[in-house]
Symmetry: C2
Subunit: 485 residues, 2 copies
């Protein structure tokens, strides 16, 4: 069929040699882009004429892949989010790596379904899940699976917590059959995905108690203990404490050891949202910050943040395998899959999560962990925390600027405060400052509001950031602030 | 840094030219594998010595990417699931395509986060979601997003159904606050992910009524109507009917028009699980089978099945955008994102689903839809249905073999029944037959049990299957059956 103009009956390329040439070109273009990323603006708006190209009807006829690729180059590549750039520090994201992206290509070419069955890809996933357990210090026989990211990892953990702490068969009877409302506790700084999970699990957001924090934005353990006592007295059923290992606003880390003690005393499930900070445990210098995470009943972590694996890659870990499987499996334990053949084998990840069809995201994780090893990740973690502290020091030295929160890990919250403005004026000024920084194309921080104070927020979870980038950034912010003043 | 032995500070390749060479080799190897897939066994077991390679501790030091790649070639590539092979028909899977896999590479190199923000990738996702609406006939202003697959698409649809049909604020108060148990209805043939979703949503599996089917495995609409009446009489709160457009066991399609009428009369939410069959609407020849899907309130469809997009790619569609956003958004509608800059723009998919960080799976979908167009997909759908009917005819002509269910779309259920065996003996015989077919490496069907009868099941959702493959398969099954007899 190779040299035939008649389209092949399959969806494979009509001409493999043409496809091969196109694939090589695509590989080169993408590598060239990454090598020169520093020379381009971090971000630029998408022109209306480009947006209009994505309002077309479903194509009827086949198009030449080379033409589709040209459209991709023209209409998509130039208007990216910017998070591959060394000066992107918005929200909390990794910058990705080329070897990880190659992993996604190879995974899609093999295209296995990781729901189950007897094939090697499932062993690759089991391997990287084992590595994640090793990182946070959960025992070898703990359970886990890769998921899309922190939101799903937290959902999995809280679903198991809901079912495991119930006195009735929640899977069959639902939460309406529970004698009392199960209550979950987390600090007011907890990530919004926790609330989303609790709502979806049918418990209602009123089942989530938001606990005050101390001056360092860590959960107030004393206040938490009092809330638990009050809820018990009111006839409710406290069931789970959620500790944050790296909050999204300021990067604060709850006292995980203290929370583990409290859970033990109160017989509560201990879940840790470590989407940002669980990997601190990889750094000999910083692992003390997350001491206690190894006592959790469930942990959510992300590999596409600090560890730079391309999206999507998160991991849910559950200490007790039976409780984990008991929440998701619809196949009874005693009902074996076939004893031999494709449908045999011990690894059926679909029995441990929401998805049945699952992609081979384990491959890019496996490749990345081998490429870098724990040591290089530890260096990256230490370096970016150092950069955040250096940025904080730079901000404090810059007239008219102030830090809004202490810097514990790699998140810096600051604002421009030239003096003489009220709270509302200050917030508006900083909002405009942020937008102009984005529009400058020089850097991309994001924002948050702490105690009513709108601030710029730089989360330096970017392996391409160099020390000089911090100076370029502060210089530019200062220049724009001067224009606005 | 290129010609320096000192490791670069970033996680980028220490030597880009070495990485480039490796990437080109990887692209070539994977293309070579795909071009020659027909020459290899569909499946082979994973040797214990290979499995042992995936029980190692977390690597401490960095490894040369070329060495990692060699390990991938040696230990992973040979022991695949088999679903890229022309004679893989197990469960219900696509075989993937090379252009789609290239899309995953390009997406990971750009690495945008599709949770929101002002960048073009979100417009690409909105475009392909529009195309999915066009396929099933939902209005332009309907809502939707790409998800991991059918399980998540159904979860999204049922979560909106739960919240939208409630008389209380379920997000805040939970399902315990509902005055009566909400009841969902689906046939006994419904996919297990529906039950999983209802359990996770806190309703309990007893909130899912399984309705009997007719001889063609379609939901019995009369029986369903009677169950609704009985539930209302018992003080329960019927809220949603789930129609199956292509069941997993036999490919049967419920009377969607009849279910839409019933939902209208009874004022119930109409959800369609179209993971397998929603795309029948792309074929002028077969779209009549799913007539009525355009009246659904929510639809789940998969793009990584019949449409061959590499894993993962599913789509959730919801008719009412406000109800959809109202289930998932934690940002109030009136609270705008920034007006300009990176954090502006109208597309925040994280407000319409469970994930906050989201990968750019839209790219491979966009590339694939353009590469093939509706017409080639329609041809594929028609051809594979024709192949299933041809396989059924072959089975019926083969002495000792019998069909176990009618063939409506592309799923064929049959068994070996040489005569003189009781039900249990027949089941054991066919179980062993299936395993030996897998072990032969010639073909990979899977299995199901219909009315107590264990049968082999071939789901021909494979764009590489040629007519001659059906003959090779039946010949082999017959040979092995002869050995077993």
């Amino acid at each position: 069929m190779n040299n035939d103009s008649k389209p092949s009956a399959s969806l494979d390329p009509a001409d493999w040699s043409e496809f091969r040439a196109l694939a090589h070109r695509a590989v080169d273009d993408a590598i060239d882009d990454l090598m020169s990323v520093r020379e381009r603006p971090v971000w630029q708006p998408v022109p209306d004429e480009i947006v209009a190209r994505f309002h077309r009807p479903l194509p009827a006829s086949p198009q030449d892949p080379a033409a589709v690729y040209r459209e991709f180059r023209d209409s998509i590549v130039p208007y990216g989010m910017g998070n591959t750039h060394p000066r992107f520090w918005a929200w909390y994201m990794g910058a990705g790596t080329a070897f990880g992206a190659l992993g996604d290509y190879l995974a899609a070419m093999l295209n296995p379904n990781m729901g189950g069955g007897n094939h090697v890809a499932n062993h690759v996933e089991a391997q990287v899940v084992d590595w994640c357990k090793e990182i946070v210090g959960l025992p070898r026989d703990a359970s886990g699976l890769l998921v899309s990211g922190g939101s799903m990892a937290n959902f999995v953990g809280l679903a198991v917590a809901r079912n495991a702490t119930s006195s009735v068969d929640v899977r069959a009877e639902g939460v309406r059959a529970l004698p009392a409302l199960p209550v979950f506790y987390a600090s007011i700084e907890v990530h919004s995905c926790i609330q989303k999970a609790i709502e979806l699990l049918g418990l209602g957001s009123r089942a989530l108690r938001k606990v005050p924090v101390d001056a360092a934005y860590r959960v107030d353990v004393g206040a938490l203990q009092a809330m638990i006592a009050a809820d018990r007295a009111a006839g409710l059923a406290p069931c789970c404490i959620i500790g944050s290992a790296g909050t999204i606003n300021t990067g604060s880390v709850d006292d995980l050891g203290g929370l583990a003690d409290l859970c033990e005393r109160e017989r509560l499930w201990f879940h840790v949202d470590g989407a940002i900070g669980a990997v601190l445990a990889m750094s000999p210098l910083h692992r003390g910050l997350v001491a206690g995470i190894e006592r959790a009943d469930s942990v959510a972590l992300d590999l596409h943040k600090w560890l730079q694996v391309p999206f999507e890659a998160g991991c849910a870990l559950i200490r007790d395998r039976q409780l984990h499987r008991g929440t998701f499996a619809l196949t009874p334990e005693y009902l074996e899959h076939t004893e031999r053949g494709l449908a045999s084998g011990p690894l059926w990840f679909s029995e441990y999560g929401l998805q049945l069809s699952r992609g081979f995201r384990a491959l890019k994780v496996w490749m990345s962990f081998k490429e870098h090893g724990r040591d290089r990740y530890a260096q990256l973690i230490d370096r970016t925390i150092g950069q955040a502290k250096a940025l904080a020091a730079l901000v404090e030295r810059t007239p008219g600027f102030e830090l809004v929160a202490p810097v514990v890990i790699n998140i810096v919250c600051f604002r421009y405060n030239p003096g003489g403005l009220d709270a509302e004026q200050l917030n508006s000024l900083n909002e405009e400052l942020l937008i102009r920084v984005h529009e400058s194309g020089i850097a991309a921080p994001s924002y948050t509001t702490l105690g009513g104070r709108y601030c710029l927020r730089a989360a330096i979870a970017n392996h391409r950031t160099e020390d000089r980038d911090l100076e370029i950034f502060v210089e530019e912010v200062r220049r724009i602030a001067g224009e606005l003043a």
